[in-house]
């Protein structure tokens, strides 16, 4: 081993485009009127986090391009409360799998952002650990969610100094939805990749095909479809149901995008057939600059003031 530090790959790229605020339909009053207030309880928790990386494949057949953004919603900005959404992703040690997670802290809990952090970080780490021994289709999701819940309970008890708190008492303070996806870094012989998704609560996973007639394909039931009035009930870690929803396997083609999102985006997207679906499908035909991606995730639309988080995964190279 020489003494030089090995660098990453590099390529010539366009200068970064300027970021412009995005509005879809009526932006509403809040988008222009709200002055963001800090949350004095959690001064070091940023309102916006974003990331953009390329996961190199093992051959020229390609890899994956990832964009991720999590933004504090207008409502939390207005009331001076922290962002409760979180994302996380990592590549397994053998570089075969990308593990992605999105979590939405349950609003009622003052420390739900901690639950969301734990779900995404501990969840991805544990899944990556399990993938050294089993294929994604054989993942023990009960074990993953059970262990993640145990960490939430342990951390909340320790951090809030509530050693005797039972599961319900912990969940009242810190709870989060949990969405995980496992994607193969390399395409299979057919040129596509199998995606495995587990979703607890109303965070949602989608396949996006900008060029097809049906652009947005949900990988789970759409929230509130067919309900007379809207409901906001949702399942969340650490109170996991005895019977988990079944994991979903889907195929990510070379011209598709895997998109994971919290309901801050998902509620506005609905079934994906309206102007939000159109707008985002156009914006995400190709991986945008990460700053623009964050701006797109933060689109202004009347009454949609919840935290917003999206992780999108493009197979690369994109079809020419």
């Amino acid at each position: 081993m020489s003494g030089t530090v090995s660098g990453g790959r590099h390529a010539l790229r366009d200068p970064r485009p300027e970021v412009e605020p995005v509005a879809i339909g009526d932006p509403g009053r809040a988008a222009r009127a709200v002055i963001p207030q800090p949350d004095r309880r959690f001064p070091f928790r940023p309102a916006i986090v974003l990331d953009g990386v390329r996961i190199e494949g093992s051959s020229d057949a390609g890899g994956l391009e990832v964009r991720a953004a999590s933004r504090r919603g207008l409502s939390h900005q207005y009331y001076g409360t922290t962002r409760q959404d979180e994302f996380g992703f990592l590549v397994t040690q053998d570089r075969r799998w990308l593990v992605v997670s999105v979590a939405d802290g349950v609003s009622a809990g003052e420390y739900s952002h901690r639950a969301a952090e734990i779900v995404t970080r501990e969840g991805c780490t544990r899944i990556a650990g399990l993938l050294t021994g089993v294929a994604p289709a054989a993942l023990d999701w009960n074990a993953v969610l059970g262990e993640v819940s145990a960490v939430v309970v342990g951390q909340v008890r320790a951090e809030l100094d509530l050693p005797g708190a039972d599961l319900r008492q912990v969940a009242d303070r810190a709870a989060a939805t949990a969405l995980f996806a496992v994607v193969a870094v390399d395409p299979d012989d057919g040129g596509g990749r199998t995606v495995h998704v587990m979703s607890l609560g109303d965070t949602s996973a989608w396949l996006l095909h900008s060029e097809r007639e049906t652009r947005w394909t949900p990988l789970q039931a759409v929230k509130n479809a067919g309900a007379a009035v809207a409901s906001s009930a949702t399942a969340a870690v650490p109170l996991i149901p005895r019977e988990l929803p079944p994991p979903v396997a889907a195929r990510l083609d070379q011209d598709g995008v895997l998109v994971l999102m919290t309901d801050g985006v998902g509620d506005a997207l609905g079934g994906g057939t309206g102007e939000v679906g159109d707008h985002l499908a156009r914006a995400w035909q190709r991986p945008p600059d990460p700053l623009n991606f964050a701006a797109q995730v933060g689109f202004a639309r009347r009454s949609y003031d919840d935290d917003r988080t999206v992780v999108a995964v493009w197979p690369t190279p994109a079809p020419s």
């Binding site: 509403g28 207008l74 009035v229 809207a230 906001s232 949702t234 939000v276 009347r302 919840d306």
Partner: protein, 246 residues
């Protein structure tokens, strides 16, 4: 399903305009909407989603302000005046029709609609037949989730009683009366004037719209009523099983 334009929180204020409300009471009632409007102007998060409707009733019931965005630029807020008896039945029937119409229209226009909230303000006992207003109230509020029989858009009902309102009757109008989304009623304390009590109730209504809106905006369960210990002077709150006021 497609996508939704916005998530809306509908509130209705239903005001008794029988003769006995004449004078300072109706003046105080007429101040409620302008005060709410002022509060919403200060809160862009809520003004983006609160829809408000005003209904008055006497021997007949009238929609005085159809469910609307109170901050619409050309909105005209009507002034209520008194006009006759106190028929609860006509108020409940109109509400049943209006809530259904409004929610269906909003849903047809691709809005997501939260369960409506009705603030029901009265200063006297109903002058119509009990079986009549009771059955009208049941049609407004009853819904069976299993059989899907009844009115799925049933509102939460929060009665406000002043002056000669019958506490026992108003108590029976609290909806839901039980369960984890139990509502409460607010009554004028003995010795207070109706106009002062209505002003206090306006405060309660505004605080409830603001905190319910904040709760729902944050994915909370819905209607938030002020803590019984935090009420303005001259009014008290009761649940459907309280007996303190008897």
């Amino acid at each position: 399903m497609g996508e939704e334009k916005a998530k809306l929180l509908p509130f209705y204020l239903v005001i008794d305009v029988s003769w006995s409300m004449d004078g300072p009471s109706i003046d105080a009632a007429n101040d409620i909407v302008p005060s709410l409007l002022e509060a919403l102007e200060q809160n862009p998060i809520l003004s983006d989603k609160v829809r408000f409707g005003l209904v008055d009733f006497s021997d007949d019931a009238r929609v005085q302000l159809p469910l609307c965005d109170l901050l619409e630029p050309n909105l005209f807020v009507p002034t209520l005046s008194t006009r006759g008896g106190t028929s609860y039945g006509v108020a409940f029937r109109l509400l049943r029709k209006q809530v259904e119409l409004d929610v269906m229209q909003l849903k047809a226009d691709n809005y997501s609609v939260h369960r409506p909230v009705v603030f029901f303000l009265s200063d006297g006992a109903p002058t119509d037949e009990e079986h009549d207003w009771r059955s009208a109230f049941a049609e407004l509020t009853q819904y069976d989730r299993q059989s899907k029989v009844g009115f799925p858009m049933y509102p939460n009902v929060i009665p406000f009683g002043v002056d000669n309102a019958d506490p026992v009757i108003l108590q029976s109008l609290i909806h839901p009366a039980t369960g984890n989304k139990q509502m409460r009623m607010f009554l004028m304390d003995k010795g207070n004037t109706p106009a002062e009590a209505i002003k206090a109730m306006a405060e309660i209504l505004i605080s409830s719209v603001l905190s319910s809106g904040m709760s729902m905006a944050n994915g909370g369960p819905g209607v938030v009523l002020p803590d019984p210990g935090q009420l303005p002077a001259g009014v008290s709150s009761f649940t459907a099983d309280d007996e303190d006021f008897l």
